[in-house]
């Protein structure tokens, strides 16, 4: 059985909200795992206040909670290189290093970790390189509540996709939904925490989306001219209009209501 708890919070009481959220779904049992890996989201080089990446305040609360419950267990904060970011730089630039050190945790870039190839019955991949560190750890997926130009929503499943160690993950965007499923098949998280205190709305997560806007628009017009298929053409035009129509940040309740 999978349980979900939803707690209203801001960053001043994130820790209490987290404790309550975990209490509601039951305690954390590490079972046979002897370490904890907290997968944060540093997929874009944008400051945390934009909602595009993990906020140091939420990481602080999560690490504080984990450390108080598991004082002697190694805790790793993990992320991998991505097409447009280098998390090794971002943890310093955006204030994560101090938080990690404060709770006696350790920063690990998965791209530079030892891996083992795991065979899966995936939708796209037949095997995935799994970092040994993740295989041996209880995985806490600390994701952001935000939209994405391709998947529409980017929460836990999309964040777990960031565990793929290959840096140029943009190469997988042609089959992104399948790649996300495969990443989660090979490296499932044990606990997912979605930080929606600052949610990011609007599909313009990638600048390519704004470049594609006129393409969607033109495609809609061409479809209508060629086939008079109103639904598809209006759908394309609406996607293009949506790309300009949403604010950067939404109130979390408003955001949830739009999903």
């Amino acid at each position: 059985m999978t349980y979900v708890s939803l707690i209203k919070s801001d960053y001043t009481n994130f820790r209490q909200a987290l404790e309550r959220a975990v209490d509601l779904i039951g305690k954390i049992h590490l079972e046979d795992k002897n370490s904890i890996a907290v997968k944060i989201n540093l997929c874009d080089c944008r400051p945390p206040e934009t909602g595009a990446i993990t906020h140091p305040e939420s990481l602080d609360a999560v690490l504080g909670y984990l450390r108080s419950n598991f004082p002697k267990i190694p805790i790793y904060v993990v992320e991998s290189d991505a097409t447009v970011t280098r998390p090794d730089l971002l943890i310093d630039w955006f204030g994560f290093r101090g938080v990690i050190e404060k709770w006696n945790a350790e920063w690990r870039n998965l791209t530079h970790e030892k891996t083992q190839r795991m065979k899966i019955k995936g939708r796209h991949f037949k095997s995935v390189k799994v970092p040994t560190l993740l295989r041996d750890s209880f995985i806490v997926n600390l994701s952001k509540l935000k939209t994405h130009s391709l998947t529409k929503i980017s929460c836990s499943l999309k964040n777990q996709y960031g565990c793929i160690v290959y840096p140029l993950k943009i190469h997988f965007h042609g089959f992104l939904d399948d790649a996300i499923v495969d990443a989660n098949t090979a490296m499932p998280s044990n606990l997912s925490i979605v930080d929606g205190v600052v949610a990011m709305g609007g599909p313009k997560v990638l600048h390519t989306a704004s470049l594609l806007t006129p393409v969607y628009f033109l495609w809609g017009v061409i479809l209508w001219l060629l086939t008079r298929h109103a639904a598809d053409s209006w759908g394309s035009i609406r996607i293009s209009l949506d790309m300009y129509g949403k604010p950067l940040q939404l109130d979390w309740a408003e955001f949830v209501a739009t999903l």
């Binding site: 874009d44 080089c45 944008r46 400051p47 934009t50 595009a52 097409t83 447009v84 970011t85 280098r86 730089l89 310093d92 630039w93 955006f94 204030g95 600048h207 704004s210 470049l211 006129p214 393409v215 628009f217 033109l218």
Partner: protein, 345 residues
């Protein structure tokens, strides 16, 4: 003509080496880099026979010209060495880190009678060329102001190198393109530079958001807004004259000229042109090539100027002006003093 490349990093791999291999009459003789692994893989990929760990060794061969693709901090040393060895030089932008280094390069070029020029590929966008022609034709009257913006992400998708995250930061990334075009359009020496900017994140320890104003000696004003923090990719330039304006979105090669009051029809024309341009670029496969598509033309121009002993497209004086703006802006931001200062000539 025999050519060597110094530096096997991203700009060499993505710009210069493919362009060199596409040009007739050009022999790519050697590649130099201190990184053995990069040297091996890049030389294999582009079919370069001779590789060198020490670029000075390559400079002792019979090559006619070198292309310098090392980090900016190393430009002056490598370029002066190449000039002293009698080689013509095409160096990535900006020409050098400091005005003093630029002066050394200018002196080396004169002393050795070689051509030294800088890569300024943004000048090659047809929209920019058209704006230059129209400005020269007097279509917008006397040029009063130039307004440029380069809002991009930090160049992490471009290169895994970290040398750009030094003090100048965003100023050393895209801003030299805007500074160069401003100097080119203004066609005048620099009178004053005034810079604002900071590390707006707090921990990057380099300038990531800045505004630089330049007054040229002919009284044309130019402002450049440069930022790494907006999560966007926007490179624009506007020219404002006594008789009209010209605006361009450089990466989509789109521009509009307007006179008097801008009407909704002008806006519609701009937007519809932009959409058509993007569709056209998408269909031709050049949408994401950006300014890299002009490297073959840029290299051809460099080699032609060597063969004909004619001035290069980008003169050393123009390149030195860009360095002067950068150097002055960096100095102001480093000292925290925002008073107007006059760059060294």
């Amino acid at each position: 003509m025999q050519v060597g490349v110094i530096g096997a990093g991203a700009i060499a791999r993505r710009g210069h080496l493919p362009a060199l291999n596409s040009l007739e009459g050009i022999e790519l003789i050697g590649l130099a880099d201190v990184d053995n692994q990069a040297l091996r893989s890049v030389s294999k990929r582009f079919g370069v026979e001779k590789t060198y760990n020490d670029y000075k060794e390559m400079l002792r061969t019979e090559i006619d010209a070198v292309i310098v693709c090392v980090p900016t901090q190393l430009h002056s040393v490598v370029v002066v060495d190449a000039a002293n060895a009698g080689k013509h030089v095409l160096v990535e932008k900006p020409l050098s880190s400091t005005t003093a280094e630029a002066q050394e390069i200018v002196a080396a070029a004169k002393r050795n009678a070689v051509i030294i020029t800088t890569v300024q590929n943004y000048r090659y966008f047809p929209a920019i060329q058209e704006m230059y022609r129209r400005l020269a034709d007097g279509r917008i009257g006397r040029l009063l102001s130039i307004d440029g913006a380069c809002h991009t992400r930090p160049p992490m998708s471009w290169t895994r190198g970290t040398w750009l995250y030094q003090f100048g930061g965003v100023l050393d990334d895209f801003a030299p393109h805007i500074f160069d075009m401003a100097c080119w359009f203004a066609n005048s020496d620099i009178a004053d530079v005034h810079a604002y900017g900071d590390d707006y994140v707090g921990n990057m320890q380099c300038i990531n958001h800045a505004l630089v104003s330049v007054r040229f000696e002919n009284n044309t004003l130019a402002t450049t807004s440069a930022s790494w923090l907006m999560g966007t990719s926007k490179v624009t330039l506007g020219l404002y004259g006594t008789g009209g304006t010209m605006m361009t979105d450089i990466q989509t090669n789109n521009f509009v000229e307007a006179h008097g009051f801008s009407t909704p029809l002008d806006d519609l024309r701009y937007v519809s042109r932009k959409m058509l341009n993007i569709a056209r670029l998408g269909l031709s496969g050049r949408l994401f090539q950006g300014a890299m598509q002009f490297y073959p033309k840029l290299l051809s121009d460099f080699f032609r100027s060597i063969e004909r002993k004619s001035p290069p497209i980008v003169s050393l004086e123009e390149s030195a002006r860009v360095v002067a703006i950068l150097d002055t802006a960096r100095a102001q931001l480093r000292s925290g003093r925002s008073e107007v200062s006059r760059p060294a000539p």
